[in-house]
Structure formats: C-alpha cells, structure tokens
C-alpha cells in the first residue's frame, strides 16, 4: 500500500496541518509503511462480527444523571488561557471579508 504526495497533501488539509515539502515526502514513505503493515487486517475473517467501539463495563449500562444545570468555570478563568481574548470572547482572525 503506497501513498503519494498528493494524498498526503489532501489528508494534511483535512487535518489542518501545514506540512513542509520535506515532511510531505517523509510522511508519504512512513505512512505507506504503516499502511502496508495494517493491510494484514484485510485477511482476517470478520464476517458476521459486530464492531466493538467501546470496551467498557459490558454488564452495567453507563450511569445516567438528571439533566440539571451545574455551575461552570468562571468566564475570566477560562479566557485567561486564550492566546487572544477581549474579556468577553475568544478572538480569531477575520473569517469573512
């Protein structure tokens, strides 16, 4: 299973990752190797098998709670970690021209 530079660029865009040309080349080779390795899963007989997405407690349902409002963190505390904020909201570069 090989993966070319164009595919790497496409996936990098989906993942919101800017890659250098050198990274594109290296990842194409390394991801190709890993994909070749995982290719072995195609040989496993999974007919009639239900996918397992959660390996939690099989004998008990997940605990539920009442849907009641709970106190949340104060705004200034949360905003204090932002790279840019104006005391009320997170600031980001302009989205619409």
């Amino acid at each position: 299973m090989s993966i070319d530079r164009a595919q790497v660029r496409h996936v990098a865009r989906l993942a919101r990752l800017a890659l250098s040309e050198e990274e594109e080349e290296r990842f194409a080779a390394q991801l190709g190797n890993v994909l070749e390795y995982v290719e072995r899963l195609q040989a496993v007989d999974v007919s009639g098998v239900e996918p397992l997405g959660f390996a939690g407690d099989a004998t008990a349902p997940l605990p539920l709670r009442e849907d009641e409002p709970q106190p949340c963190l104060p705004r200034e505390k949360v905003l204090s970690q932002a790279p840019e904020q104006n005391g009320e909201a997170f600031l980001v570069p302009r989205i619409l021209e």
């Binding site: 993966i3 890993v34 899963l41 496993v44 390996a55």
Partner: protein, 486 residues
Amino acid sequence: MKADLLPLSLVSEALASGTVPADALLEAFLARIRALDGRLHAFLRLTENEAWAAAKASVQRRANGKALGPLDGVPIALKDIFCMEGVETCCGSRILRGYHPPYDATVVRKLRQAGAVIVGKTNMDEFAMGSSTENSAFGPTANPWDLTRSPGGSSGGSAAAVAARLVPGAFGTDTGGSIRQPAALVGCVGLKPTYGRVSRFGVIAFASSLDQVGPFAQDVKGVAHLLGAVAGHDPNDQTSSERPVPDYASALDKGVRGLRIGVPPEYFGEGLAPEVEKAVRAGIESLRAQGCEVRETPLPNSPHAIATYYIVATAEASSNLARYDGVRYGHRAKASQLLEMYEKTRAEGFGAEVKRRIMLGTYALSAGYYDAYYLRAQKVRALIRRDFDQAFASVDAVISPTSPTTAFRLGEKMDDPLAMYLNDVYTVPVNLAGLPGISLPCGFDSKGLPIGLQLIGRPFDEETLLRIARAAEPAEQRLPPILEGR
C-alpha cells in the same frame, strides 16, 4: 534501609509508625531529585510549595491522631497529562507550553484528599504517543539502569522517577502499554486498571476508548494503595464505572493456590528476546510452585492487535487533537487568515510523531477508507476481546512478557516508527479489550537490565490480578546503579 529507599507500602508503614515524619521524608526525596534528576530528566517541573504544605499538614494530622490512610504523607509524582489548577501542564507538547489549567483532574483531587504529597509533573512522550519518552518536546528521559537507554514510554518520566527512588509512587496513563512497558523497562510495578475503573476527568485525551489512568510503585502492595485512592465513579467522567471499589490491599496475601493461569502461545513467538522468555517462564514456574494451575490458553487474534490499535488509536487521536487550534489555549501561530492560523499553529505546535498519527487517523477516517480501515479494525477488536472472554471462562489470569526486549538505546528506534510500535505487541491487546493488566519485575538480562512480566485479568477483577502479582513479585529489590553512585 533508609525510609526513602523503601517500596511504597513500607514508606507508608514508616510514616504510620512515626519512624519518619512526612516533612523529613519529603526533604530526602527532594534532595535525591536535586542530586539525580539532572541526569535522568524524569521531571518536567516540581510543585515544591504544594508539596511542603501537604507534608506539613500530614505531620499535623498524625500529631492529632487524624491520619487519612496509607497515602498520608507519601510523595507522589504525576505524569504531565494530569491537569492541576494553576500548574503548567504541557502533555509533553510545545502546543500546550504555558497552559495553566483552570481546574484539577479528579485523580489530583482524590490524591490530595488521601493526604498524598504531590511533588511534581513527569516527562512523557508528546500527548502520550510513543514508547520511549523521546517524543517529548522537552527532551528524553534516561533509564536509571543505563543512562544511554530509554525508560520506555509514554509514561517514562513517572517510571524512571519510581525506579530511581525519586518518589515512592507515581501515576501515568496507559493507552497501548504506556504504564506497563516503561514499568518493565525500569524494573518497577505498573498497573493499567480496567477501562472505566479510574476517572479520566482532567486527563488530557489521546484515544478515548483506550486511555486509562494507573499507578507505579516498587511493590505490588504500594500499587494497591495507589489504585484504592483513585478508583471509583466520577460524575464528571461518563465512562467511569459505578461498581464499588474493594479494599485492594487487604486481599493481597490470600495466596494463589488453586488459581488458574493461562499461557498464550502467541505471546511467546517470533521477536521475543530469549533472555526475556527465560525470565518470564521462570516467573510462571514460581507461580506453579505456589499452587497455581498453569495451562496453555490460545489468544489467536492477538497477532492482529498492533495493526488494529494503530487504526483505532490514531483515528480517535485525530479527532481528540482537533481541539488544538490556537483559539482557546496553548500556542497560536501568527496568521491573517483563520485557516492559515489553524494549519500553522498545528504545524508549529506538534512534533513529528503526533503529526504522523494525526495523518494516519485522518486517513483511516476519510471518505472512501472508513470501512476498509476503521470499521474493519473495530471488528477485529471485537475478535480480540472475544478471545479474552473465552480464555477467562477457564483461567483466572493470563501471563506473558510485558515487552519483547529489555530497554533499548535512546535514538535506536526513532527513525523507524513501525519498529517502535512493535514494542507494544503484548500490551495493546489489553487496552483493545478494556482489561486490567499489570507489569512486575521478574529478573535481569545479562546486561543487568530489568525484565518485566505481564498479568492480564478479568474486567474489574484487579483484586485477583494484584493477588497473583504479589505472589510473583521478587522477594528482594535490587537498586539501579545510579543510586550507588555509579
């Protein structure tokens, strides 16, 4: 032996009997950290102010006859994946440099309630992705047994800190072996509890269907004390189980007569170092001699576990790590457009292995590949779990090596991601199946490097697992050369 060289359960007894006060104990461990950590780099930062306040409060409680339990006054280190309010928490990544969480992880809160003395945050592979601690943005950690070798990973800092007696106990996280493999490589005990046993609230997420919190100590009883303090339901973590938490330490010494241990032939095949196999088989014989019934237990789908894991874990990681976008916390790159800001922030903030895994996970989830990769991996995951369910119909625990080799050299596997991934061949099936697993020391190879043995148990049966581990753990503890001035 000095109290600060004892395993955790004996440190706890020394505190309880008054042989050593908590403040003197803290000073002894801090002195050792100052003396040795320049060479080890187990810690990313110390929380000395909190530690001193906690140690003095512990001394006061004992003076008033109000001690809190086995962890009261015991110094503990935490992997830098646990959020502590106001304490920089980077998860080994440049992208979180300067991040001071606005709240505490539940594990942190519970440890404080138990009287533990939190001394600092330990080094780790970036976002817990790695098996050597070399993927830390802040430089690697060295193995106390040989400073040119890796302590394993991703919780390598916590493991090295315990092995070098910088602390008697520590916590890490285990998504594919990140507690058990470093425990094996540095010669201490490391437990990955059942999925759902310990709250992950405030623990930075890697792969949410696999991540679990667990302890390190030099002895099984110490690990039992640490697990007891943090296990249990947390309303802030929907996946944490409401099952009651037993008194893990009290069941340890029941012996193992009549317990049935399964040996999976798939875990003793190609790639296993002969010296590791010999030591693990000697461990099995020791359990047999103590009255365990040993039988062969096939786990035929385990050889598919690495391939399954690197689809499931990377897919979940690509989704979890989407939150690092330069908006709410952490690093932000300079850019005039939003999309450019996202892409540059992530390019500058993430290291090579994290980028590789985000790419692989995004690919596996992308249009046209989802069924072939992600869905198929989840089906193979079901088969791996089914193997264990069938095994536990006739055995009480499964035994295997923890890692196919002893500690490898720093740098040795950095250019070959696949070779690094294969370190986890015996540990990832346990995460995929959501089971508890423990690694404990079972001897040394001819280079003097520690060898680890893994026990795997039924879901939520940490008690039996710890009981067998207690019977299998070595009677005597060897100190790493760094502690003998070599």
